[in-house]
Subunit: 179 residues, 2 copies
């Protein structure tokens, strides 16, 4: 199935609204707790998404368009939010994510990418050669992987409260798959 | 950790807004496709949530309060939405889910459940004795298990588009755990 950039943009547009609807002003029991040591809370995930807006998706897209495979993307810092989110409330992070996402999607639309642009290639520090199309599809799938994670982390807070029903709740069996 | 009914109600209130923000008017590629034979699309999941609002959470709560362990809950039909969603658009289902959820939460609030009410017990056809507290916590966790599922089903549509990044996306490794 060919990647449809319009479908990607439509999904990317929604994520800030989804996270607002789910998380804004929710009790901290739901938003600040993770799944144990060295795991992320919903708050941490929003910080991670902000870091991606700043350093990953559009910077890497620009690098592919300007330099192709001749330059390697800067590695992504998966723990940057531990520094960058300090002192902020979840509501401030949600605002910042929404602002950056809107700005990045405006820039993406302005690029007016054609099919041949999407086929252009760049170099990932670990994965090797990747296409712009793959990068942009991953941006959308990355939103989904973190929505998947947030729903799991929140469900984890009720693992005891649900009693025997935990056996029926798929999300309670999910081992995280590292995200 | 004791179950906090207020936290449960706050989460239950949000789910229709989350699903609206994520799914309403999205291309059918995202909403009508599942993960293969006998799997659910986002459309199917919303139908399943509607069936739960009609037949599961509040009817079972009422049964516990009226009859305790002396009556067994009617088994839940996990495939009811195949019949009941026929002829409806996703947007109509989202409206219906929102309407039923609002109505059910109004009824739940009107019950003014006290701690001793939450400790009351009923009988599940497969799990045996369960408490009202566990049932209501499961209502919220059930929303999360299906948000987890929807994000996974949607990500599945991009399993090829993301190319080598699929290895980094936890949601693409999730085997579903039956939901």
């Amino acid at each position: 199935m060919e990647h449809n950039l319009q479908h990607t943009i439509l999904l990317l547009t929604r994520t800030p609204h989804v996270l607002n609807a789910l998380l804004r002003d929710l009790p901290e029991m739901w938003t600040l707790q993770g799944e144990g040591e060295k795991t992320w809370s919903a708050f941490d995930v929003v910080g991670h998404l902000i870091h991606g807006e700043r350093t990953d998706w559009m910077p890497r897209s620009r690098m592919i368009l300007q330099f192709g495979e001749t330059r390697t993307f800067a590695p992504f810092d998966r723990w940057a939010q531990q520094r960058e989110s300090q002192g902020y409330s979840l509501e401030q992070l949600l605002d910042e994510f929404s602002r950056l996402r809107t700005q990045n999607l405006a820039e993406l639309r302005n690029l007016n990418l054609r099919r041949e642009d999407l086929a252009r290639r760049g170099r990932h520090p670990a994965l090797g050669v990747v296409s712009l199309s793959e990068l942009l599809a991953t941006w959308a799938a990355h939103d989904l992987t973190h929505l998947h994670q947030i729903s799991r982390v929140m469900a984890h807070q009720y693992r005891e409260a649900v009693g025997p029903w935990s056996a029926y709740l798929g999300v309670m069996q999910c081992n995280g798959h590292s995200a």
